[in-house]
Amino acid sequence: MKRPPLRTTYAVWELTLACNLGCVHCGSRAGDSRAAELSTEEAFDLVRQLADAGIHEVTLIGGEAYLRPDWLTVVRAIRKAGMSCSLTTGGYGISQAAAREMRAAGLQQVSVSIDGRQSTHDRLRGRAGSWSACFRTLRYLREARVPVTCNTQINRLSAPELPLIYADLREARCRAWQLALTVPMGRAADWPELLLQPPELLDLFPLLNELAAWAERDGILLYAGNNIGYYGPFERRIRAGNAVWEGCQAGINTLGIEADGTIKGCPSLPTSAYSGGNIREHSLREILSRAPELNLNQGQGTAAAASHLWGFCAKCEYAALCRGGCSWTAHVFFGRRGNNPYCHHRALAQQRAGRRERLVLEESAPGTPFDHGRFAIIEEPTDAPWPDGDAMRFTADRIRWRAPAELHVIA
């Protein structure tokens, strides 16, 4: 399958923190809007600055971006400034008319989040009927000729259902499917049982490989998110562009913007440690040039770029290029980047050595947007008994390859 060219520069903009869903894994604990979100004029000014800084594509997120009344005028401004514009949404409450307005405003792609079959999705998204709403939204968007893609969070509830989710998305004629691992940020930090343990990656990655083969056959672009990897035997199959992971790109080609104008190198990074400043106080170019938080990945290819690594990652054969995988993932587990427990190569290496790693919550998250707790790594022999009471553990025999009698009719 011919893959589309990868984007070069990219900004993810949380337009508002207001949300109509209550997802149990929401990293930003979205629900109410932020106290001082950017005004329409400030948003227009930021659009101009983004284009000036070399951004080519803007993805609007939330909360739920479309809950902001002026959001389509922001879409128009982005398009007028010469940038591509897409939306990532929970897909709840989008009408046929809204889908047509999105098309008319110049929105070029919508990614709808789908995290399981009906019961699992509704449970994770915190609202009954949200799964049906997603597929209705996909239909409305298709009818309005807006290209649709989907994204899925992988955790212990959704992982066994991935083959069934794939079948649903294919039926809904999705063009691409982006996958990301759920990590302990925001509300997900309050429910550690939901998270995959590192040895469970040994059963997950062959499944991802299988799904990638199906997607390739069906002409669907399977796109592994930045916290899925790294360098194992399935790396080239699951990473878009048939490439290998080249390290965290926060601040290199990616920006994250919070609804109140806070600028980060990546939208997922915790605000407290990675905020480079606010657009109300400094221009974007000033923040990019001066803020160390925006320069955390400078110097790719030099020894200095990997100097922050610690633990397993510091000694890894891929260290210089990988630089510890996804900075966000490592940071929300341990409070600092540079040692990433969610790594297939690492899990395989540990298995070969007769070892495995388990993550244990030591300190709970305080309960603010983009917050996190603190975990400890327990290293133990592969054949050590698994802790009692861990009923949600993901193993290959839990994978649901076919829906039994619950075949649904997509709305």
Binding site: P206, G232, R236, L288, Q298
Partner: protein, 117 residues
């Protein structure tokens, strides 16, 4: 320093070398690991192949192509009236059929020949 994105790497040559080295190692890992673990023929381990995609349009396309091929084959192989194929065990073949213009021309030539005699 240019404050715009994307930022250039610290050492482009070294980054390229690291990329190529990682690719070599990944290919090595691919060789030692099985390509497919789940659902591989002939004996599925954990499940089977995914349900098939709707293929009605593929069948329609195939039917159109088959119909076109049949018509083309008929045109190429059907005996022309001028050179009828021999028929064994049936009625005698029809004489060659000429066009009306050709028949008129032949008649006129014949008539002129008679007149000349």
């Amino acid at each position: 320093m240019d404050e715009g994105l994307p930022r250039p790497p610290g050492d482009s040559d070294e980054l390229q070398r690291l990329r190529e080295e990682a690719l070599r190692k990944v290919k090595r890992e691919e060789r030692v690991a099985p390509v497919t673990v789940y659902g591989a023929p002939p004996i599925p381990v954990y499940g089977g192949p995914p349900p098939r995609r709707r293929t009605w349009w593929r069948w329609l396309l195939l039917a159109i192509v088959a119909l076109a091929a049949t018509i083309l084959a008929w045109i190429l192989t059907h005996p022309s009236p001028i050179n009828p194929a021999p028929v064994y065990g049936g009625p005698p073949p029809r004489p060659p059929q000429h066009s009306a213009v050709l028949l008129l021309t032949l008649r006129r030539i014949e008539w002129k020949m008679r007149k000349l005699r």
